[in-house]
Symmetry: C2
Subunit: 537 residues, 2 copies
């Protein structure tokens, strides 16, 4: 088995995704998850380029993977020692440093405005400087494939210069994402024939023609031994090569499975689906249902012919066992097929139910009916647990809502400026006793946060003996989706809550009225908390 | 130039996407759009399998593309003439018929439970039956690649049988989506060597390893001359080969550009981005920002180094000119770079503004500031027009909102059932005169449709001399997005409106308060309508 190295750049190139901006803490969480997955290198960012990246390197977690700082080759007209951009990169103190540099002659002369020889000097001196400090060095050859097509000798001479200066890896970058797999294959083979060993070659591709994964594998088949990519294919423009796809392909599919070994163990692979969803959660992105391997639809069999064959033998319409990547098969719900899945999910919620219990069929029916209305129990696991407990008679009623009323008023003030005010009244019975609460929704800056916020405050404000249990609970996220378009729009609200025990739970509400949908999700959030923390549960 | 044929299956395999269900009318709109694009075949569905597909074939538009009905080879134990499933397919009367059949020996014996020879008979008789009716026949060889790897001779004999029975095309299907491009390449070459001409071979792939596009092109490079795929890569599980990616790659990139000709003309290619968005609109799906060629981020240059180089020469960080597919470059807004883009957008809104007009800089500043707050003027083109007109002093004020008040109340009725009621009051001045309106939000079934509906009704109810202009206006879609997660959530509302002139326009509102955000979008929708239809505009 040959060793193939995985280099993750989610925290650097992944941050170039439109709309993505990691905090330092988020970078730390992701770095830890990448290390648990088993990648070989974690590129953490560009120290000195922005405060977040600098702070990350100052406080980065200890990882088995090689933490790598990214930067660029020194500028012309100064020594590597005197380039303060390069100094900031080295000062991050990582065991490994990756520098991007030009390898396309046009970019050297047009973008940098220096001679081809000066660029080679910059590469040589920068790599040598890193090596002199005892660090591992990588050279990212920017625009390598476009450069090779214009001037093969010069592109290769950039790589050779970096290699001779001590670079461990020469990474061939398809920066603009326009190169086809057959070209990648031919060019990598020619580069190896020109004397750059495949064992020192990496591949870095972009998905501008939906070929980033295919180009990465084409390079590996031609002899390259390092792949750069990102989780969920994050990255500039159309994204980078998607490690979430590449890793299972390398581990599970031939010819790679028999030929290569990576740092990712089969146990870690079963966490891949969860890892992908966690990253989306952090970024508040909607997970791509059709994502290979990890998408919610990746093993969903909608066609009738497929679904019936799957019941006989799953391999008839599945290229791998979904469990190997921690995903699950979805087939049209039938009591026959659904019960074992359901027992598994109930167990995850701490509920042990025997096969054959008639409540199982009732729970499945309820889920089916409510999902048709727009509920989403995959996401809202706390609402799922409540629904199941009710059918199992394992859920106290806690309190009884009599009514609520929410008012939003906007008017012109004396100064001619508009201001808005929300107010909610909730009337609830606890132990037969009536409690009536009212709340506004002003934040510390006295800005109105809207009707759902007011409703949540009024609801929690006075629930009798339960109020103290709810003190450490807070709403941390609120997601709204219209599940049917047009005038018949139905709203689905998902609320995420947290408490001081470090728990986070999701609940769902559905209605044509957005306030009602929110109220339903709020009630579930409170009931779940009471279920887990109040004395009678 | 060799002719390469494009076969679209959006209306059949695309409908296997989880959550996708076309109506007959939607199928007709999409078929027309596909014909305008220039594909060679439009597979409309499976006549007889469901009422929508049957109705589509009865009322399908006249197309230049060959309309094709999909079905399966006849079942064993009856003649082709007496198979009522096949009869329903033929009765659709299309000039071309595509039948799926088994080519993997395991599936013949395990799934169908018939002999290998019986399966060959079914293929032969079914294809001959189609040809006898004077139709063009295609044979979809299901699980061809998996079958070939298990029993190459049998898989090829299925293809040969179909060809000899008169099939114009033998389509090699990677049904489970697990085959790698290098395998596709080798196997297609071997099939051609075994006597099935490449000119009769098609390729049908799925995206389970993110390789559907790469596998399609690998098959073409090996000699196949028909590609099957779907718009936006719709399809079962992870989707089919994405024609929205494949078409520009074939037309714009080497080696395909010089070698092949398709039915898609460069003029149609410039409509590709719009077509992709229209399909998402029909399906109420959020367009994928990172989609190759057509995504909103496909030519967005976030990295500082890239953005500055792009200003010098776009080819430095773009593999094609975004205009060739009707997309646009996005770079951080600067007055220098943004003005020519802005003039172009204003022109699209019917506003002719000269370069150098100081209002241009003010409009850009406004857009930049408001987009940072969460507004989305790419989508809400009517709100963009209003914003620009205000800076250009081309927007009458029409009316002045004094205040509004919205109430949502939920209470237990006498029967113990909860019911909800929304009510809105709006106070507005028109020509100095005060108008006060109140409305509920009950639909025909007396169900409450929520606070935004009530607000919209109250607002339109009495706007003095403008009310008559608004009579034919209706809200047709309402989209809510939370643009910042957590407790500081900001809500963006997009409202789509229509009128009896066949116009459709989108407006946007943003606020921490969802009612306020909706009200802002509603006001813009009404103002845009008045601007275009009231006498003073």
């Amino acid at each position: 088995m040959e060793r193939l190295y995985l280099y993750d750049t989610t925290l650097r190139d992944g941050q170039q995704t439109q709309g993505v901006q990691f905090s330092t803490d988020e970078k730390k969480v992701i770095a830890q998850a990448l290390d648990d997955l088993g990648v070989d290198y974690i590129e953490g960012g560009w120290p000195g380029a922005n405060p977040t990246d600098s702070a990350f390197f100052e406080t980065a977690p200890q990882t088995r993977a090689t933490l790598t700082a990214f930067g660029m080759t020194k500028r012309a007209g100064r020594s590597a020692e005197n380039d303060e951009v390069l100094a900031a990169v080295l000062n991050a103190g990582t065991p490994s440093v990756c520098l991007v540099g030009k390898s396309h002659d046009y970019h050297v002369t047009a973008a940098l405005g220096i001679t081809l020889e000066e660029n080679l000097d910059n590469i040589r001196a920068s790599i040598a400087h890193i090596r002199a400090q005892g660090r591992e060095a990588l050279f990212d050859a920017e625009h390598f494939f476009d450069g090779y097509k214009d001037n093969a000798d010069y592109a290769v001479s950039c790589c050779r210069t970096a290699l001779e200066a001590g670079a461990r890896w020469i990474v061939l970058c398809d920066t603009n994402g326009g190169t086809m797999p057959s070209e990648v294959s031919r060019i990598v083979a020619e580069v190896i024939a020109a004397g750059i060993p495949g064992a020192n070659l990496g591949i870095h591709t972009h998905n501008d023609t939906e070929m980033a994964v295919a180009c990465s594998l084409a390079a590996v088949e031609a002899g390259a031994r390092q792949i750069q990519g990102t989780l969920n294919g994050l990255g500039e423009r159309c994204g980078n090569a998607n490690l979430t796809t590449l890793i299972p392909t390398l581990l599970l599919k031939e010819p790679y499975k028999s030929q290569f070994e990576t740092g990712v163990k089969p146990e870690a692979l079963t966490g891949l689906t969860q890892l992908s969803r966690t990253l989306d959660d952090i970024l508040n992105r909607v997970p791509t249902k059709q994502a290979p391997y990890v998408g919610a639809s990746a093993f969903a069999h909608k066609a009738g012919l497929h679904a019936s064959a799957i019941l006989k033998d799953p391999s008839t319409y599945e290229h791998i066992d979904p469990g190997e990547v921690g995903n699950a098969r979805i087939i049209p719900m039938s009591n026959q097929a659904g019960q074992s899945n359901l027992i598994k999910r109930l167990k995850e919620a701490g509920l042990s139910v025997e096969k054959g219990n008639p409540a199982l069929a009732r729970i499945l029916d309820q889920i089916k009916e409510r999902e048709a209305q727009g509920y989403a129990y995959d996401t809202a696991q706390a609402s799922f647990e409540l629904l199941a407990r009710e059918e199992l008679n394992l859920c106290p009623s806690f309190f009884d809502i009599e009514r609520y009323k929410v008012t939003v008023e906007r008017r012109k003030g004396a100064s001619g400026q508009y201001y808005t005010q929300s107010e909610a009244v909730v009337v609830v019975y606890v132990d037969g006793e009536k409690h009536m609460s009212v709340s506004e929704s002003l934040d510390e800056d006295r800005n109105d946060r809207g009707p759902v916020n007011a409703l949540s405050r009024a609801l929690i404000k006075d629930l009798g003996r339960y109020s103290s249990v709810l003190e450490d609970m807070r709403l941390v996220d609120f997601k709204v989706r219209i599940t049917q378009g047009g005038t018949e729009a139905i709203t689905r609200v998902i609320i995420d809550s947290e408490d001081n025990h470090g728990r986070r739970w999701s609940t769902v509400g559905v209605s044509a009225n957005i306030i009602d949908a929110s109220f339903e999700a709020l009630l579930d959030a409170i009931r779940w908390k009471l279920l887990h923390d109040s004395t009678e549960a």
